[in-house]
């Protein structure tokens, strides 16, 4: 993008010794001890270290919620924006700055409720970015309401005392139908496997969706059982969308691994200037 404010293009070459802990900022997370998001933070720093992505070579965009606090805990440029609107901010940033590695983080409410529309279109748009949703099937920050991924019968929220009665939002299925070119599921309790998925996601050219099951110890203590329930996806990751659709529809929601990845055209404006404003103004003469 032709602009004097843009620093030199190209990924900066950091010293080759960046370790995961170097990415952590001085700010101490406010997450409850035992929160699954610690595992995601750990995995993300390990992935950045594995790929040696310099601090100035990436930016982390988030919305509102417990998981959206993450950018402040990593020592790099970030934007803590509006509830549900992280993906458009990231889209604008990436469109203007293709040189940056853009990571987007948020929760299930932020991403699938108020942010649902942007999720659909980001999957379609297939710009090169990685979207990590930390799904704990609850709105933690506002005291424990049901989210779109909460079971319809969960009745522990005063807002929906009989449960929502509404069937769950299926993130992977919807991502696939909306055209996402990379869909993976991870578990915060297995940060090393999650690191691998994040490395693959960040390296994937296009929109990479990583659905992370990340238990909320405070409002969903029963999610402790996820540790026993998650299991590696039995089938090989596929590049066939119809096959992936069948796999994902049969999925119990607890299968981890790379579910679908395909090389699709990546959307990225890249225009070189070939005219001047004076020439444009000359066209206004009748």
């Amino acid at each position: 993008m032709a602009d004097t404010a843009t620093p030199p293009a190209g990924r900066a070459e950091p010293p080759p010794t960046l370790k995961a802990k170097d990415y952590k900022s001085k700010v101490k997370p406010i997450w409850c001890p035992g929160c699954g998001h610690f595992g995601v933070l750990s995995a993300l720093t390990k992935a950045l270290a594995y790929l040696q992505i310099g601090k100035e070579a990436h930016a982390i965009i988030s919305g509102i919620g417990c998981s959206s606090r993450l950018p402040a805990y990593i020592d790099s440029f970030g934007f803590h924006g509006l509830h549900g609107r992280a993906l458009p901010v990231a889209t604008g940033l990436k469109a203007a700055r293709p040189d940056l590695t853009v990571l987007v983080v948020g929760g299930d409410g932020d991403g699938f409720s108020i942010g649902g529309n942007h999720f659909l279109h980001a999957c379609r748009r297939n710009m090169d970015m990685t979207y990590i949703v930390m799904d704990n099937e609850v709105y933690g920050m506002t005291k424990g309401q049901a989210s779109p991924t909460t079971q319809p019968t969960w009745s522990h929220s005063k807002l929906t005392p009989h449960g929502t009665g509404v069937r769950r939002f299926q993130p992977a299925a919807i991502a696939l139908a909306a055209g996402a070119s990379f869909i993976a599921r991870g578990f915060s309790g297995d940060p090393n496997r999650l690191t691998q998925l994040l490395v693959q996601a960040i390296g994937h050219p296009g929109f990479a969706f990583v659905h992370v099951l990340s238990p909320c110890q405070t409002f969903r203590p029963e999610q402790k059982a996820w540790k026993q329930q998650v299991h590696p996806c039995q089938l090989e990751p596929t590049t066939d969308a119809a096959h992936a659709a069948a796999l994902i529809q049969r999925d119990d929601g607890m299968a981890t691994g790379l579910l679908y990845a395909e090389r699709l055209p990546v959307n990225q404006p890249r225009n070189e200037p070939d005219t001047t404003i004076a020439e444009i103004e000359a066209e206004l003469l009748p």
């Binding site: 101490k28 409850c32 995995a43 005291k143």
Partner: protein, 174 residues
Amino acid sequence: MTNAHDPIDTIAELLAHALELEHESAARYEQLADSMEVHHNVTTAEQFRHLATLSHEHAATVEERAVGIELPRIPPWEYKWSCPGSPETDCLDHEPHYLMTRVEALHLALHNERRGYDFYAQVASGSNSPEVRALAARMAAEEADHIAMLRGWLADAEDLPPRQNDLDPPNVPA
């Protein structure tokens, strides 16, 4: 995908695992210490900070052993742990909690050290290299010392009060 039960047959690989184990352990205790501080659980924060210091010291010991040896750079997901994370971090049955007591912190650490011990013991019997078996056996013995130390601290802390209740409902931070 690496089979967790693939044997470790070189000193370098063993030390790389040992170093990762201690670094991860230290990082986890630091994280828990920070978390306890943020939640104003001062005594438990101090306990975790102390445990972190010990893990740093253990890591230094491993680094001394590794002087002059080029360690392989292993991607995080290829470590030969049998639990999802490194043995001293993620194989927890003891969940942290903002009200957890020093005693609970020590139990958590004890559990970690046992898993560390199990890892070295498994290498000590499963490796195809006698050198590696010998070193792993020594390191298992060191873990056993850590376990004994923790048991001693637990014994001293027996009559500390149990976990308190929080009389406030959950807050709405932002």
